[in-house]
């Protein structure tokens, strides 16, 4: 068994029109920029995939990564907690023009819904959001004298995730706070594709330090020196690059 995928292109080849795709990261940290850009490359060549529902904490920043995916018109719905950033123009313009749907979810509820999707828990109760506009239409129930709302699991067809080390079985480690939503999304997707800085052999990662066990990972692709969204944005990068 070896879950290595040779190319970024091949890694994103299974994502079809209309699918739900979880994309890891919190802002730029842990964002799988190269996987996203490979998906854009495919769209530029084939006009597919489109009509995607994307789950991410944010809505992109500038004109790279998730923002670029949205800018291409590939995303019809975004499920996120915080669609603001230093440069949120791409999402903001489409949203205000009514061209992209937004499901706004409190950040902790978003994380828990994804975990629930991965853990086979179809619904759970949380105090978060009770009495607010974001709880409208959700069942309310009292436990021990306190009101809670019921939230549903969130699952995806694919997860695109960034990790640090990955062995060929799919065991993963992450880099610092780039962990964030990534391990949860690995659990909640039918197919989880991970870009890692280095693919190593089984046994090269201490079993005590594995954060995501390989059972949650279906494919790995090596991106030795991944780009960082903040760095790209400080250089005013745009994807795809405009050829002069």
């Amino acid at each position: 068994m070896d879950k290595t995928i040779a190319t970024l292109r091949e890694a994103v080849s299974g994502i079809d029109d209309g699918m739900t795709v979880m994309i890891g990261g919190f802002g730029g940290s842990g964002a799988p920029i190269e996987l996203i850009h490979a998906l854009i490359d495919r769209f530029v060549q084939t006009r597919h995939p489109t009509n995607l529902t994307v789950v991410n904490n944010n809505a992109g920043n500038g004109h790279v990564g998730l923002a670029a995916l949205i800018e291409q018109g590939m995303v019809s719905k975004l499920i996120c907690s915080f669609p603001r950033s230093a440069d949120p123009r791409v999402f903001t313009d489409l949203y205000l023009a009514g061209k992209i749907e937004l499901e706004l979810v409190p950040q902790g509820t978003l994380a828990e819904r994804i975990r629930a999707g991965g853990a086979g828990i179809p619904a759970f109760y949380t105090p978060t959001g009770y009495g607010t506009d974001l709880a409208k239409g959700k069942p309310v129930e009292e436990f021990e004298g306190r009101p809670y709302i019921r939230e549903r699991w969130l699952k995806a067809d694919f997860a695109l995730v960034k990790a640090h080390l990955g062995d060929t079985f799919g065991n993963l480690t992450f880099n610092k706070a780039a962990r964030n939503f990534n391990p949860l999304m690995c659990m909640a997707a039918q197919t989880t594709i991970v870009q890692v800085s280095s693919i190593v052999r089984p046994g090269d990662i201490d079993p005590e330090t594995v954060v995501t066990p390989g059972i949650f990972v279906q494919g790995l692709v090596e991106v030795a020196e991944p780009a960082q969204e903040e760095t790209l944005n400080r250089a005013n990068a745009v994807y795809p690059e405009v050829v002069q």
């Binding site: 068994m1 999707g117 853990a119 086979g120 060929t168 659990m187 089984p202 079993p207 005590e208 390989g214």
Partner: protein, 222 residues
């Protein structure tokens, strides 16, 4: 009566495990399945108490009692192991991430109901992870003797013992046959050539359906 021994039943079950499959083996008889991975295939074994990818038992005296399986027997580690806590372990189970769980049974009904945790109100009840496994793994198989020690059917129309799960079993490896559960019916796939269909039916508590050919159940001396 000619029948497979437990090790042979385990051998047959092992033939259906794909390379790279994530597998949970119940305590006892199912544990034998791990011994018979076909050449060129490597399954990864999950244990409820938080290991993915454990290996064989250590030599006597070499036990590390922090490295045990769900049956509390000492195990070793294969390269590529991961440790995790119980909630993550059962997220793997309940979340449908295991490819197959192979469990023992007191009774299996033709609708897929399984009874394997309680023989009734006497004694101390204990359930462990069985109820989670039956609803989590993509495929739930049972390995069992075809009949009880006192000759009663274990494959039945409806379970009489307390259920572990409803409509969860899809394949049964017995000492006499290999039977699938399809649309709440027992469908006979393989049987020992030494037993006739009528004889097998007589030892089975619900109707055996035949859909297409019934292959010979052929198992080496193990």
């Amino acid at each position: 009566m000619n029948k497979l021994n437990p090790t042979q039943i385990a051998w047959r079950a092992a033939q259906d495990i794909a390379d790279g499959a994530y597998v949970n083996l119940g305590i006892g008889l199912p544990e034998l399945v791990a011994r018979f991975q076909p050449p060129g295939r490597q399954a990864i074994f999950h244990t409820e108490n938080g290991i993915l990818g454990f290996g064989e038992a250590p030599a006597a005296g070499q036990e590390d009692w922090d490295l045990i399986n769900a049956g509390k027997k000492a195990v070793t580690l294969n390269p590529g192991t991961a440790f995790f806590h119980h909630a993550d372990s059962f997220a793997m189970v309940r979340g449908g991430h295991l490819d197959v769980a192979i469990l023992g049974a007191y009774e299996v009904a033709e609708n897929g109901d399984l009874a394997n945790w309680s023989t009734g109100p006497n004694g101390v009840p204990a359930v462990g992870g069985a109820m989670d496994l039956v609803h989590g793994a993509k495929r739930v198989a049972v390995i069992t003797d075809h009949i009880t020690k006192d000759g009663k059917a274990k494959l039945v129309k409806r379970c009489t013992l307390p259920l572990t799960g409803v409509q969860c079993v899809t394949r049964i490896y017995t000492s006499l046959a290999l039977i699938d559960i399809v649309d709440a019916h027992f469908v006979l796939r393989e049987k020992l050539s030494s037993i006739s269909l009528d004889e097998l039916q007589a030892l089975t508590g619900a109707e055996l359906h035949v859909v297409g050919a019934v292959a010979d159940l052929i198992v080496p001396d193990v």
